[in-house]
Amino acid sequence: MLGKTAGGLFWMYRYLERCESVARLIEAGFRIALARPDIVEDEWTSILAAAGSRAAYDERHGRIRESIVVDFLLRDRDNPSSVLGAVSIARSNARLVRTELTREVWESVNESWITLKQALDAPVHNRDLPETLGLIRRQAALVRGALYSTQLRNDGYQFSQLGISLERASNTARIVDMKYYALLRSGSSMVQTVSNVQWETILRTVSAHRSYRWLYGGDMTPETIARFLILDQRMPRAILFCIDGVAECLENLAKMYGRRLPSNELADRLQDDLRRVTITDIYDAGLKGFTVDVVNRLAVLSQQIEEDYRYYQ
């Protein structure tokens, strides 16, 4: 497979995943705004940061206003992390690697792009927001469905899956990073100001509020939530679950190609570190420092993959 093609698949799925993550972040912000109008500005600020769009927003708009933030995250074409920006990049990459996509995958990406371009043609009114966000999530699910049910399990599939897992891992890590103050140990002074709404929101941003309830009932403590988001190996958007996925894809590639590469080592080490650590260790060393470290290591790993498999040179 061409290096360029591997890179195209990887980024196509990363950006599709990003569309969905951003939609979920907006949804969470919107809910908080309804429940706690008093903290809404802080909320949007941290959502912008979790979406990796804080600097771009500040430069463009400065002051935080809900309608502007939502519009920026949905429709700003120059922002690669807006829904419209990300779906356009995903579709460009799909065109680039079209020979590696099944007809079903290609058509679902192309259709998503056409549909979302239309849906986001004009600013979305608050009253239509839930429906639009639902549409974005459905489009992303459609492409993944086509991937899982039609794509050959060859190296191309591994690069696709790598993109999905890496993007999810960094997304969840960024969310924990932005919300660390809401996840500080029970009993610490800041926690008092945080309500259940915050915790609910965090779980919603990774579509896991229901799964959490299945596992822990109504028992919400910062430690269990943090453990669930970081170390659970059953929750598809938990950091460790995603890193397991990344390491597995890289392992599969090593088997297919008959050689292990530096990215295998990086992924394995990250996976080992996370498997060994307990949530208490993480709190003892500092939650904030831990997530920042994970975000950085994921970025380094992504670059190493790019190099190992010759995406660009």
């Binding site: 497979m1 061409l2 290096g3 360029k4 591997a6 460009s92 065109r95 680039l96 079209r98 020979t99 007809r103 290609w106 058509e107 192309n110 259709e111 056409i114 190296d155 590639l253 190609y257 498999y309 010759r310 040179q313």
Partner: protein, 475 residues
Amino acid sequence: MQDKPTFFDEMFDSSGQARPAYAQLVRWLEDEDFKRLIRKSDDAEAFFRRTGITFNVYSQQEAEERLIPFDLLPRIITALEWSRLTRGIEQRVRAINAFLHDIYHRQEILRAGRVPVELIARNAAFVPQMIGVDPPGGVYTHIVGVDLVRTGSDEFYVLEDNARTPSGVSYMLENRETMIHMFPELFAQIHVRQVGDYPTHLRRSLVAAAPAATQGRAVVAVLTPGIHNSAYFEHSFLADQMGAELVEGHDLRVDNGRIAMRTTQGFMPVDVLYRRVDDDYLDPLVFNPDSLLGVPGIMDIYRAGGITIANAPGTGIADDKAIYSYMPDIVEFYTGERAILKNVPTWRCGEADSLAYVLDHLDELVVKEVHGSGGYGMLVGPAASKKELASFRRKLIKSPGNYIAQPTLALSTVPILTKSGLAPRHVDLRPYVLVSPDRVTITPGGLTRVALKKGSLVVNSSQGGGTKDTWVLED
């Protein structure tokens, strides 16, 4: 003032009766609900958009993807007509390959005085780097698109030989797919020859011309200028259908005496490169030094027999509009037979007598730039305004050698479906011809392009033309 020209309509005769080839189709049409057809027509457009069968428009600031309008009514060619056309096409394509070999080797045709030396020597399409080069398998033009027009029941003319990188074949294939998808019942009633195996033939044909350096199964790659190229869809479509790699210049480099592509496991040699970039951009070391679309050093590898380039560099000398007028001689010179397909009478404006005639009859003629393509830089005299005529007259006087002129042909029409019923529109036909060392394969039919504007003779997609499915009937 001449009489209003009457055009040969391929579907209906002058009394309005369906011609025999179209009888079944017309019966089917009469039974169809017209509204359903119009609806289907919209369906077809949605289908094309969803599947991303689009082309990018040149000279547009932001790359815009457009659809080529597709007309539902097929264009039909009988088995008999087709067999005559294929004989003519094969003869012509063989002559073109012989001509190219000769021009880049002994130049017998120039010595014999059948084609003027200066037409070759001073022609930008002549590539001196090809002199003495023997392309693998002896094939110069692996893929040719011969543009034909019809003017009467037995009269076909070759308008142009596209011997560089003819495009449009993906539309031929997708048009058929679309028709089968929308009107399966029609294909059960009318027996139409298949076109769907074109990619298989293309691959076979390219592999048959693989270089001696090939080890094991030949690796075929399609070289595209990239996703912003107007024909990118076609490049990816063909690579996909052939099971070939789709590469850009920066995916390739010289490696160990071969051209190799950058894969996830290192560099791997490419045996056959179906390039969809022009000669000029192929190798910055030899041609345009600013080109980022090609591969530095590929010409050296090619000359050493390390790769097959399809079509070979320098084939443009055979489809040059100035050479065109010599085609009947060229066919005769190399095949010893008279050309089966007719050439359109052509005035070479570089010759004083011809120029005088052309200037006198500008409003009756079609004038083309010798090196232009895609319907740009062209004057259709009868349809031109006084201002356009005057401006073209100045251009002609300034550089007559840049132009040829031809009579305005009474192009045949085939009806298209419009909201207010059937309406005749002018068409042309581009059959696709594959040349391999051992055979010439012509896909039955080809791409019918249709001028959608009433009375218009310009069928190019970049100028508002559309396409039709083209049916060659079984015997």
